[in-house]
Structure formats: C-alpha cells, structure tokens
C-alpha cells in the first residue's frame, strides 16, 4: 500500500512519551496503593457477618465495578465541583482510580480471605491474640500470598486504566500520544510506539509480581 511508516516525529517527541509514561506509572502506583488499602478494609467488610458492614461494602463494589470508569472520571472532575468538592485534575483522577481499584481489589482479596482455613483464626484465638492481631499477623499476610497471581492481572488492567485520565487533560502517556497525533498526524507510528511502551511496562509489572510471588513463596 502507499503508506510508508515514518517514525521521525515520534522520536523527536519521544521524551514527551516518556514523561507521559512516568506520570501514568505515578498515577497507577499511588492509586493502587490507596486502592489496596481500601480493598483490604472492604474485603473484610464483605465477609463480615454483620450486615451493617457487609451491605455497604457490597453496594460499593457492585456499583463501582459495573460503571465505566470514564463516567466516574467525568463525575469527579466536572460534577463534584458543582457539589462543592473541588479537586484538581490529578487529584480527582487519583481519587477515582483509587476508588475503582479498591472495588476490584476488594473482590480479589475477598476470594483470598475465603481460602484461608478457619482453623488458623482459631489457633490464633487460642494463644490469646485479639481479632485485630489475627488479621494483621496471620490472615492478611497469608491472603496476600494467595492472591498475588490474580492480583497481577488486576493491577495490569488498572495501570492501563490510567489512559482514561487523558479525558480530563492529565498529560499521561495516552494524552501525550494523542497530542503528537493531532500535531503530526503520524497516528499509526505514534500508537505503535506508545503501545510498545504500555506492553513493556505491563510485562515489567507482571515480572515484578512474579518476583514478589517467588520471594514470598513458602518453602515446602
């Protein structure tokens, strides 16, 4: 066909893509860390025998997981200020992605919690640990080991969701790629390079997770 690839424009703007990638990663790391904390608390609430805890947790997870994240992003950025809550664009995106991650990770954690034998809790009780101590020293660390494999793909999805920040003008990788697109019209070239950056980063995340998994693996 008559189209010849020309990457010159992309290389000229490569540092902008890298800046975007760095921001994407930053957004992902902060949001997912907050999200993991939320998810852990919500997961315990989900399996709680008290409806006052499990019901709101279920509602949160159901609502958030079933909405397109774009709607949440737009809501936080455009509708919240009209209700008096005003976050800047990075803050509001981090808040959304954290809440979104929280819902997904809560489900992941819940599955992990359910797979921990009840006997361990009882053994903890029997030596006089309080329920909180049992959660922090026994259940959470074991659950984390159980869920690491499934967490890896959740985290990759969440990382890719940072691309939605482009919608509210956060200059992350997708935003930068689009900007180069409209400037140069080298759409195909730009996306090839940008997605290579995404793939490489995801591979890195996956490798990192596998490494953590191996590090934490219990000897047998």
């Amino acid at each position: 066909m008559g189209y010849t690839l020309n990457f010159a424009v992309v290389w000229r703007n490569f540092d902008r893509l890298l800046e975007g990638l760095a921001l994407s990663l930053g957004l992902a790391v902060i949001s997912i860390l907050i999200g993991a904390a939320i998810g852990l608390a919500v997961a315990f609430a989900l399996i709680s025998k008290y409806r006052a805890a499990s019901w709101p947790a279920t509602a949160y997870v159901t609502l958030i997981r079933n909405l397109p994240i774009l709607v949440l992003v737009l809501f936080a950025y455009f509708a919240l200020p009209q209700m008096g809550v005003r976050l800047d664009k990075v803050e509001s995106f981090v808040a959304v992605l954290a809440i979104y991650s929280g819902a997904y990770l809560a489900e992941v954690f819940r599955a992990g919690l359910l797979s921990i034998p009840k006997g361990l809790t009882e053994a903890g009780l029997a030596i006089g640990l309080t329920p909180i101590q049992i959660r922090t020293t026994i259940i959470a660390p074991l659950m984390l080991r159980n869920v690491l494999p499934s967490m890896s793909s959740t985290i990759i999805s969440l990382f890719k969701d940072t691309s939605l920040a482009a919608a509210i003008a956060v200059p992350e990788l997708t935003f930068q790629a689009r900007k180069i697109n409209v400037e140069s019209f080298r759409v195909i070239e730009t996306w090839i390079v940008a997605s290579a950056l995404y793939v490489a980063t995801c591979a890195l995340i996956a490798a990192l997770m596998r490494r953590i998994e191996r590090r934490l693996a219990l000897p047998r």
Binding site: M1, G2, Y3, V9, L74, Y77, F78, A79, P81, Q82, R86, K89, A166, A167, I168, A169, F175, R178, K179, N181, V182, E183, S184, F185, R186, V187, I188
Partner: protein
C-alpha cells in the same frame, strides 16, 4: 486508474467525517448527519453524480482522519482539518473551504468581563481548549501566562467552563458562535480573535485526477455555479449571508 473513475463506477462517494462537533459535523434530532463539513461532501457528490445524497458516511474520530485516508477506508475526509505543512506531507489537501480564527468565550455572569480582564489576570486564568495543533502556543499567543487544559472532545471544553474548571474556552470562532446561539444569554464572547487557520478536505496523495476533480468541485461552489449551495450552507451553520462573488475578473487571479 484514478479514484475518480472508481468512485464514478461505484455510484456513491465514501466520505469520512465525524459526528460530534456542531456546526461542522453532527447529528440532527432525527439522526441525520449534518453540518458544514457534511455539506462540503454533498457538494462533491453533487458534482460527481448530480445528486448530493449519493454519499456513504464513514464516521471517524479525529485520530482516524489520516489513517482512514491512507488505507483507503474513505475517498475523502472533510472534518475541520487544519492545514499544516507536516500534515500535507501525508495527505493531499484540497483547496481550503473555510478560514477559521480562534475566539474566547466566557461565562455570561463570570468573573472576567472581557479579553482585557483575562489578560490582566495573568496566570490565575485557566483556558480549556480542544487538543489541537500547538494548542498551548495558540492560547499563549493571546494570553501569554494563562494555564491551558486540553480535552479531546468539544463538549468537555464547554463542560470545563460550565463547572468552573476553566475560566474561558478558546476554540474555533465558528463553534463558539454556534454554541452561544444554542445557549442564548449564558455566555459571552471575549471580543478577541486570532490565530488564523484554514480548513480543507484531504485525499490520498498521488492521485492528481481525483484531487483536481475535488478542487474543481469546491472551487466552483465557492465562486461558480454552485455558489448558492455553498452560501445556503454558510448561512445555515454560521448565520451569515455571503455576498455573491464579484462578476468579472476572477478574484483569485488578482
């Protein structure tokens, strides 16, 4: 053979355009594609087949404009494409069919009265713009210190103004005019225009016959036998009556 022959043989034109930007290309309440870009396509269809309706529309996002031309998904794209040298290396632009300038729109009851007030406020002003060629430079040409937020769809730059995320919208004067006409009394023009750019359709490079044909069709709509078509469309979408071209020596050779 030229695309011109292919199109004629096929019996309809495949036109690439968008569907979410009034008054350029958008959908009517009964789901018909309309707008000034669309009318340019209709002019070409009429020149081809004597029937402006012989068009198959390919809806595309801004990102898809060039690739759809280069991979033959469309015969021609008319989608408020700003002509630049860089782009002209990848597609062949037709003669321009509109000259655009950028304007500033403010909230009717907002903090800033006009362009002078915006400029005086310096870096405390945020301007929302559509992701565009050198969007930042463009805003800074008028408001050197203003913060610039770029969005990828027109409705969001308006939304940013509406929700207080930005203090002014900078975009095509034509779009602003349309928007203000749709929402009378809520917004005002800051009264400053700059940054001229021309809009043209794009076709694949390397087919002089086809380019020449399209150019002819557009040229004759702006200066010749199809002027009424062009003028009517202009009136519909921009609300202005065009003076008929002067009779006598063609203005473009002056």
């Amino acid at each position: 053979a030229s695309k011109l022959d292919d199109v004629l043989a096929r019996g309809h034109l495949v036109l690439g355009t968008g569907s979410t930007n009034a008054p350029w290309h958008f959908k009517s309440a009964d789901d018909k594609l309309q707008g000034f870009d669309v009318d340019m396509g209709r002019i070409i269809a009429k020149a081809l087949f004597g029937d402006p309706d012989k068009i198959e529309y390919v809806i595309q996002s801004s990102d898809a404009r060039i690739p759809n031309i280069t991979t033959d998904k469309v015969d021609i794209t008319c989608q408020f494409m700003t002509v630049t040298g860089e782009r002209a290396q990848q597609v062949a632009f037709t003669i321009p069919y509109y000259r655009e300038g950028v304007g500033l729109m403010l909230k009717g009851d907002g903090q800033y009265a006009d362009y002078a007030a915006l400029k005086a406020a310096g870096s405390s002003v945020t301007v929302s713009v559509l992701q565009n060629v050198y969007a930042e430079d463009m805003v800074h040409a008028a408001l050197p210190e203003a913060k610039v937020d770029q969005y990828d769809s027109v409705d969001l730059i308006y939304q940013a103004l509406e929700s207080g995320r930005s203090d002014a919208v900078a975009t095509d004067q034509s779009s602003l005019a349309w928007y203000m006409a749709q929402n009378p009394g809520r917004y005002k023009d800051a009264g400053y225009g700059w940054n001229p750019q021309t809009y043209a359709c794009g076709v694949k490079r390397g087919d002089p016959d086809w380019l020449n044909f399209v150019n002819t069709a557009l040229h004759e709509a702006m200066t010749g036998v199809e002027f009424d078509f062009y003028a009517k469309s202009f009136k519909t979408w921009f609300g202005k009556d065009l003076p008929p071209p002067a009779i006598g020596f063609p203005v473009e050779f002056k």
